[in-house]
Amino acid sequence: MLIFDQVAIMTIDKLQEVFRKVFDKNDLVISADTSAKDIKSWDSLTHLELIASVEETFNVKFSFSEVMQFNTVGDMIRTIEKNTGNK
């Protein structure tokens, strides 16, 4: 289990909304450990759609080397915070 600070918790809340919209599941609950294995419809397609939605929501643009590192929600949070200057 990954441990995050307050900023990360706010990020994950916001991310959860993005996930719920992309995967069209209003009751979806994510954690830093959530990966594609935990969400059935998280496939090649939705992965890139998810990234586009995250970029739009957080007003960031990920590089391809960053996208390659996205295996869990925790990876996303770290990269978002790096890009938004929160870390």
Binding site: S44, L45, H47, L48, F64
Partner: protein, 477 residues
């Protein structure tokens, strides 16, 4: 032939899978172990392989090949009913599996676990001829029943002959295997690599496939890759960041390769060539090739689709109209060494016909020849519909919308109160229907303008990475 390379390069890396390398001698020890698990009491001429992404599955393919039987891959992502049907249709009695979790409901198949340490000690090798079947794959049939395609050793040999004569693959190459084993191009990626003593890297079955492909091409210094063109569609926005100096050959097949994707991909490859291949499973993997050239290919692309090129040696084609008479633009039909003798259980005989003493296979694809003698693709015979008596190629409308919006579009035909109507499905979060309709009316006659526009963030794909039109129809039509 693979056995010879194993003897010639015993210490070369043969396979990389799940984070582990296997040398040729290590791989063949595993192959031998799987081979020794095939029961010796009976002779099996077709053996099912339940495909997991592991070394035992790949070793099973080789073991069945050495045993002399045809292999029938069963996809672990398929529902059990579909695997059951494939197993029934192909008449297999034995299934090799590295996993105990098998989605097969019937007990009539003998299932042998390749993961067990116990060997039965097989001594049988089937005497086979060139005309015997090497593998059987299943394509989706228009009736909803999978269609078995038995490909003979003779077909496969003719296919590989093209690559031995035209490419300089060697033992220092690194191939990337990106396909499911139920997709026929996997035969190329896996066997071609082993036949030249190279290393075959198996793409991990995790994460986003297009991202994973680009990642592995970069990290593993892959030199030869074959993939579906759709990969470029998904990577498009990242292509300016990707540089692949080690990649020598980028092969595309399985779908239309768009010029605007190919030209961007070319920028990623300072030392690499792009070859576009074409061929249905019935003509053994691929049977035409076209070397992409930034300048030449732009002029030769039709509807922004890169040309299919010329037929392999040993293959002949004709282009025919609905009455099977030769014409300049029509259905592409192949005859030659790579065409399968028949479908499994001689089904779908109407896909073959005799012409001037040769047996031709009807691809269902509409093609013509350009000035340079290269085949160019225009669409499917079955995407042609009639609206108010007018003949309409759905692809023409798709391209028109694509030109207006720059967004991928699929046009489908539905019957509403007995009348054919066109529905445009746009891959986007939103759709400016009125604007598109207005722009379309500037290019197309009224009957070619879809009556309904729907939009979806991403098109559903089938297991081979192609747009699943049936799923779109089920969801929206």
């Amino acid at each position: 032939m693979v056995k010879n390379t194993a003897l010639e390069f015993p210490d070369n890396k043969a396979l990389h899978i799940n984070g582990q390398y296997y040398s040729y001698s290590e791989l063949f020890k595993i192959v031998n172990s799987v081979y020794n698990k095939i029961p010796k009491e009976k002779v099996f001429d077709r053996i099912g392989i339940y495909c997991n992404n592991d070394v035992l599955t790949y070793a099973s393919i080789l073991a069945v090949n050495f045993y002399g039987a045809a292999y029938v891959p069963l996809n672990n992502k398929y529902p059990s009913q579909r695997n059951q049907r494939i197993a029934d249709e192909s008449g297999i009695q034995l299934i090799l599996s590295s996993s105990s979790e098998i989605k097969i409901i019937s007990e009539k198949f003998e299932i042998v676990s390749t993961a067990e340490s116990k060997d039965i000690g097989n001594s049988k090798i089937i005497q086979r001829s060139f005309q015997d079947v090497s593998y059987i794959l299943f394509t989706s049939g228009s009736t909803g029943k999978p269609k078995g395609v038995p490909v003979t050793h003779s077909n496969v040999s003719a296919f590989f002959d093209h690559f031995f004569k035209n490419y300089d693959f060697n033992s220092s190459d690194k191939f990337l295997q990106t396909y499911e084993l139920t997709f026929d191009v996997s035969v190329f990626s896996f066997f071609m690599s082993l036949m030249v003593g190279a290393c075959c890297y198996i793409l991990p079955n995790e994460g986003s496939k297009p991202v994973k492909i680009a990642e592995w091409l970069q990290k593993k210094h892959i030199t030869v890759v074959s993939m579906v063109p759709g990969v470029l569609h998904y990577l498009e926005k990242y292509l300016p960041e990707i540089k692949l100096p080690f990649l020598r050959f980028s092969f595309f097949s399985g779908d239309a390769l768009y010029y605007h994707h190919a030209i961007k991909w070319q920028e990623c490859l300072p030392n690499g060539k792009i070859h576009n291949f074409y061929g249905p499973t019935e003509t053994t993997i691929v049977c035409t090739s076209y070397a992409f050239d930034a300048l030449k290919s732009k002029n030769e692309s039709v509807n922004n689709i890169v040309a299919l090129g010329k037929a392999f040696k040993g293959m002949e084609f004709i282009i025919v109209d609905e009455d099977l008479k030769e014409c300049s633009k029509g259905e592409l039909c192949f005859s030659g060494d790579q065409v399968i003798p028949a479908y499994l259980n001689n089904s779908n005989e109407n896909k073959f016909f005799n012409y001037e003493g040769k047996r031709y296979y009807r691809t269902g694809d509409v093609a013509s020849l350009n000035m340079n003698g290269d085949l160019v693709f225009h669409g499917r015979t079955d995407s042609q519909v009639k609206i108010n008596g007018y003949r309409v190629e759905l692809m023409e409308i798709e391209n028109a919308i694509n030109k207006i919006t720059g967004i991928k579009t699929i046009v489908l035909c539905r019957k509403e109160k007995g009348v054919n109507q066109l529905v445009a499905c746009i891959e986007n979060d939103s759709c400016q229907e009125e604007l598109i309709k207005q722009k379309l009316s500037e290019q197309l006659p009224e009957y070619m303008i879809p009556v309904k526009f729907i939009h979806t963030a991403s098109f559903p794909l089938n297991e081979n990475g192609k747009i699943d039109k049936q799923a779109l129809i089920n969801a929206y039509i």
